[in-house]
Symmetry: C2
Subunit: 198 residues, 2 copies
Amino acid sequence: MSAASTPEATNRRAELLRIAGDLFAEKGFRNTTVRDIADAAGILSGSLYHHFDSKESMVDELLQSFQSELFAAYDEILASEQPARAKIEAAVRLSFAAIDQHHAEVAIFQNEADQLGRLERFSYLADRNKQSREVWMTLLREGISSGALRADLDLELAYRFVRDTVWVAVRWYRPGGDLTHDQVADQYLTILLDGIAS
Amino acid sequence: MSAASTPEATNRRAELLRIAGDLFAEKGFRNTTVRDIADAAGILSGSLYHHFDSKESMVDELLQSFQSELFAAYDEILASEQPARAKIEAAVRLSFAAIDQHHAEVAIFQNEADQLGRLERFSYLADRNKQSREVWMTLLREGISSGALRADLDLELAYRFVRDTVWVAVRWYRPGGDLTHDQVADQYLTILLDGIAS
DNA sequence: TAGCCTACCAAGCACTTGCTTGGGAGGTCC
DNA sequence: GGACCTCCCAAGCAAGTGCTTGGTAGGCTA
């Protein structure tokens, strides 16, 4: 019925979660069937329910553990002692590192957050969304007041611009490709900070 | 069996298509059932098949007519006699106008192109993707060779950056909101061209 | 007024969906 | 060697899926 008493004890469970996450990221949550997951794992669909309560709980676990890790890292940057511009660069780099190391989770969050967020179980997604907004707005405000960023920026639009440009890269970036995530982050930062005009 | 001999003759059909498009955009294609569409239209699901062959043909018609209109407009900009920077600005503005006026179609294309593209019927989506790449790469190259854009740009990454930042706005932009699509385009262009740094 | 048309309903078919049930093979612990 | 545990299979259920079928009401045309 329930999973192992200590979830981390069994790594079969962790592997099933990884397989499910990859499929959710590739085909979408609703578009991935429990039979798809079971096939990819080499077992029958019913056997998945020895490890997990439901399909929902799989994606729930993936998103929660990823987000708690991500936001802890954001908080560290916010609390650090460095110039505003360096903080922004660090936050952008962190996001690209997340795309590299937690590709499935980022993709799932980007593609399914709107849909899942309507379910009560996933109401924390809206909270994390607000939290993300506060992180970036704080960084942008610090940047403006310190003189590192243009004072004539529309804060709200600038926030959306930064947020979107950072996370949308999950659509094409593939771990192990030509460029490392830090190289991509460098290029994005030069464009974001200084623009493409000469 | 088949639809009206002249599709534009009946506007009931056009309205059903609009209703379906809104639902596809909001809930996703697979996640929208023919019963959802019929409910929203106030008829029974079977009655939809008097107007359309299949659910697939509905989204097909939406995407094809939108894209043929969009790329005709891009071609006009490419062929026009104006400086490289003005062409880029025009192309960005055109994209935001499309988000405003064809919100559902843009959202569907952004969210479903990867999935639908795997079906042979929607193989033209990949062609349009290449065509879009050629449009933007041409604009960027003209910008660099004319001196309007920085010469040290990574063309490939710059293209992805521009493409993504333009279309991803469909996620939050809502027609009839605080800002017009042209105001949003202005803000995006200042950031894209000159960056957020001071 | 006969023939045809558009737009729809009522019912249901074949299939897919997430999930449940009962059980069994192989290992571990005392 | 008995009790327990982990991990899985075999079979199937109820709900939901896209789509089909036969039919009907009301209008338009000759």
